[in-house]
């Protein structure tokens, strides 16, 4: 067990190194650099800037310096936001994305399990049809359309009522998060609902449920102890990758709802070719992903005794 964890962490570190290297070279192969500006600058000023950021060094040397700093956990200084270290930028913005992501995943998981159970219970009846229709929408409508439309709906609603029921954009209170988190979690919720539904139905026809029924156990007990519990297992299995997708996939929601998260910042950094921010964010997200996968794998071992951690 201990050996297994150590091996996984070591592999994870190698993976992070691979990500950092891939990012470094992908980025430096981009034509142009962060120093260019609307006001053309003289060669002297340019040389000054290059020296300041170490861009006058050969690429191999820049890579070594970057890797050295990375080992010490130093992601460098932003090119655009001079005087701000990338560590600070991530420290300030990632929690925003993370809170939003966690909220979204919780909404998605709770909603998915409950709706899934409901549709299975009322299979081929009205609740089933309504929910499955919504699920289909959740799966097939692009997130930016959902985001824009839900914001528009909220504005119209607020105007119709005459009071601001929920803020339409921005960040700060829990009310700001509600709609963006819902939008962010929507497709995952739809996916989980479908998964839950089919797994519920499968279990409803399983031998042990039939046995339980014939034993004359109270229905509520069969439903919670046997069906629900076992049906949740596959949902948990897919939750791991989904957590990663959601916490790193908030670009659209962050843009539409003016949320100061890391995703939106990354897109801006790419436009500006802000090398250090691009690399820092990618490496950080990569490491986060790798870490999440390891944690989830380890968790399975505890949840499902059938899986052995070897």
């Amino acid at each position: 067990m201990r050996w297994y964890v150590a091996k996984r962490i070591l592999q994870g570190l190698v993976t992070v190194w691979f990500i950092a290297t891939a990012t470094f070279f992908a980025m430096h192969s981009v034509p142009g650099d962060p120093l260019l500006n609307d006001r053309a600058m003289s060669p002297e000023i340019r040389a000054n800037l290059e020296a300041k950021y170490g861009l006058d060094q050969p690429l191999a040397r820049q890579y070594l310096v970057y890797m050295g700093n990375l080992l010490r956990g130093d992601l460098g200084i932003s090119f655009v936001h001079e005087n701000q270290s990338v560590n600070d930028i991530i420290r300030e913005r990632f929690p925003v994305s993370a809170i939003l992501g966690i909220l979204a995943i919780i909404i998605a998981a709770v909603g998915g399990v409950l709706w899934g159970a409901l549709t299975a219970l009322y299979r081929n009846r009205l609740p089933d049809y309504i929910i499955m229709f919504l699920v289909i929408l959740g799966i097939s409508v692009p997130s930016f359309v959902v985001a824009a439309l839900s914001q528009l709906t909220l504005v119209t609603l607020n105007q119709a009522v005459g009071v601001s029921l929920l803020p339409v954009a921005g960040w700060g209170t829990v009310w700001h998060m509600l709609v963006p988190a819902l939008v962010l979690g929507l497709s995952t919720m739809a996916y989980l609902t479908r998964l839950m539904r089919s797994s519920m139905l499968e279990i409803a026809h399983s031998d042990y449920v039939r046995t339980a029924k014939s034993k004359g156990l109270p229905p509520a007990r069969i439903f919670t102890r046997h069906q629900l519990r076992n049906a949740i297992l596959p949902v948990i299995t897919v939750l791991g990758p989904q957590v990663a997708i959601i916490t790193t996939g908030g670009f659209v929601v962050e843009m539409v709802f003016a949320i100061p998260g890391l995703g939106r910042f990354f897109v801006e950094a790419v436009q500006q070719l802000d090398y250090t921010v691009i690399m820092g964010t990618t490496v950080f997200y990569g490491a986060f992903l790798v870490f999440m996968v390891i944690v989830v794998d380890l968790l399975y071992g505890f949840i499902d005794p059938r899986i052995s951690l070897q």
Partner: protein, 456 residues
């Protein structure tokens, strides 16, 4: 029970072969799958939708021969089913301010047309200048006069020629006095209602082929403008033609990229799985690396790194980026399958009979993974289509003027309030496509692989 069971109690057996014959027709794996797919109504409907989408993309442009790049500047942002009547007028000449001497207050000179609305007014009391407003709604007690069109800071200018985005409808023009700081004195204003007529110049009408050949063009004749069944976009381009052209890009990326990376994944996975050992370890470790790359971040990064040259659509870089980042999932899946199959008895038997390695892979292993691969492919298509749409939304998609459903939605979102059809049409097409492939994937999974069967 056989349906051909004889009536008589005892009859001689006709032949031994007959009795051993299986009563149901022998079905190959694929025939069986097809039967099962046909029984799945949803999957079948999806299949028809996919086929009609392909027809829409490939055959559509042959039937609807409108040029998706042509900019019909007389019909910009037209919603579907708008009126197309237009009166023929002479070419536009800038107005010198002549005419309209009679009348007082704010008045229209000549006929108000979509080409220009010529306004003239008398100086307002105490005005050091004038500002012209135009509104779409009648002016109410709030004195909201609409959009300011122009400021004339000298009291002497008393004419304005409005050419801004005129549509055939009623407009409410107002003129307001300006004080010495150039601030409008909204207390004193005059206003007028103007009905604007849709017009087209004779030259444009001829150039667009609206007038049958050999016919005389006369001013004040009425013609019908070019038809746009689904309306036009922000540059007056035909939506239907653009949706078809966009379909080509979206579906090319959506189907092309998954096809390529699934094929690559199959090759990679089967080699790794078949060779096994250290090579397998190494190859799979590499796949793990690629999986660990944050997908959307690297999509953006690769998109920028590959770059788009002048005149290029940017479809290819996106395709490559998708392939580079998405292949490992298939490779892992196929490898798993191959490893499983390799331990099966029939492989051993075949090996003992002297089958060569390529034969084993081609004849036994790959066909047995095909079902899984096909299902994966169907599920990866919606992902690729969404990714294209997402990249277009953040402005890193295909380059203009190439349309794609994603970039069309992105443009449409900006005009969502005024011309919703520019968003709704491409968004609906994306949704339908994604949904169809998802349901088809479900159906295929049920039909092809009993083990992965979805209980519904």
């Amino acid at each position: 029970m056989s349906t051909e069971a004889p009536e008589l109690d005892f009859t001689p057996i006709r032949s031994r072969e007959e009795s051993q014959k299986i009563s149901r027709p022998s079905l190959s794996y694929w025939q069986d799958a097809w039967l099962r797919l046909k029984a799945n109504r949803r999957a079948l409907v999806s299949l028809y939708i996919v086929i009609s989408l392909l027809l829409f993309t490939l055959v559509g442009p042959l039937l609807w021969r409108s040029d998706p790049a042509f900019q019909d500047l007389d019909q910009i942002s037209l919603s579907p089913g708008s009126d197309r009547q237009a009166v023929i007028v002479a070419d536009y000449v800038p107005w010198d301010g002549a005419g309209g001497e009679q009348g007082s207050g704010l008045r229209v000179v000549d006929v108000a047309t979509t080409q220009a609305v010529k306004l003239k007014w008398d100086p307002l009391p105490g005005a050091l200048g004038h500002r012209i407003y135009r509104n779409r709604v009648p002016i109410g007690p709030e004195l909201a006069l609409g959009i300011p069109l122009a400021d004339y800071v000298d009291a002497g200018t008393l004419t304005h020629e409005d050419r801004l985005d005129l549509h055939p409808r009623d407009y409410y023009y107002s003129v307001v006095a300006l004080d010495e700081r150039g601030t409008p004195q909204r207390g004193s204003f005059q206003s007028i209602t103007v009905r604007v007529q849709r017009v087209i110049t004779a030259q444009d009408a001829q150039a667009q082929g609206l007038i049958p050949a050999g016919e005389e063009v006369q001013l004040d004749d009425t013609v019908r403008l070019a038809a746009h069944p689904l309306g036009t976009d922000y540059l007056g381009r035909d939506m239907l033609a653009r949706l078809m052209a966009g379909a080509r890009v979206s579906l090319f990326i959506g189907i092309g990229a998954p096809t390529i990376f699934v094929l690559f994944g199959v090759a990679f996975g089967s080699i790794a799985g078949f060779i096994g050992g250290r090579v397998d370890q190494l190859m799979m470790r590499f796949a793990d690396f690629v999986v660990a790359l944050p997908f959307l971040l690297f999509m953006i990064l690769f998109k920028v790194a590959f770059g788009i040259g002048p005149g290029e659509s940017g479809v290819l870089p996106m395709l490559i980026a998708l392939v580079v980042l998405m292949w490992p999932a298939t490779a892992r899946l196929v490898r798993g399958q191959i490893v499983q199959i390799r331990q099966q008895g029939y492989i051993e038997a075949s090996q003992l009979l002297g089958a060569s390695r390529p034969y084993l892979i081609m004849r036994h292993m790959l066909p047995n993974t095909l079902g899984v691969v096909l299902v994966t492919l169907t599920f990866e298509i919606p992902r690729a289509i969404f990714t294209e749409a997402f990249l277009s939304f953040i402005g890193m998609g295909v380059a203009p003027p190439t349309p794609s459903w994603g970039s069309m939605s992105n443009e449409g979102i900006k005009n969502m309030l005024t011309t919703p059809h520019e968003l709704i049409l491409p968004a609906i097409l994306i949704s339908i496509t994604v949904l169809a492939f998802n349901l088809l994937g479900d159906g295929l999974r049920d039909a092809l692989d009993a083990r992965l069967r979805n209980t519904e």
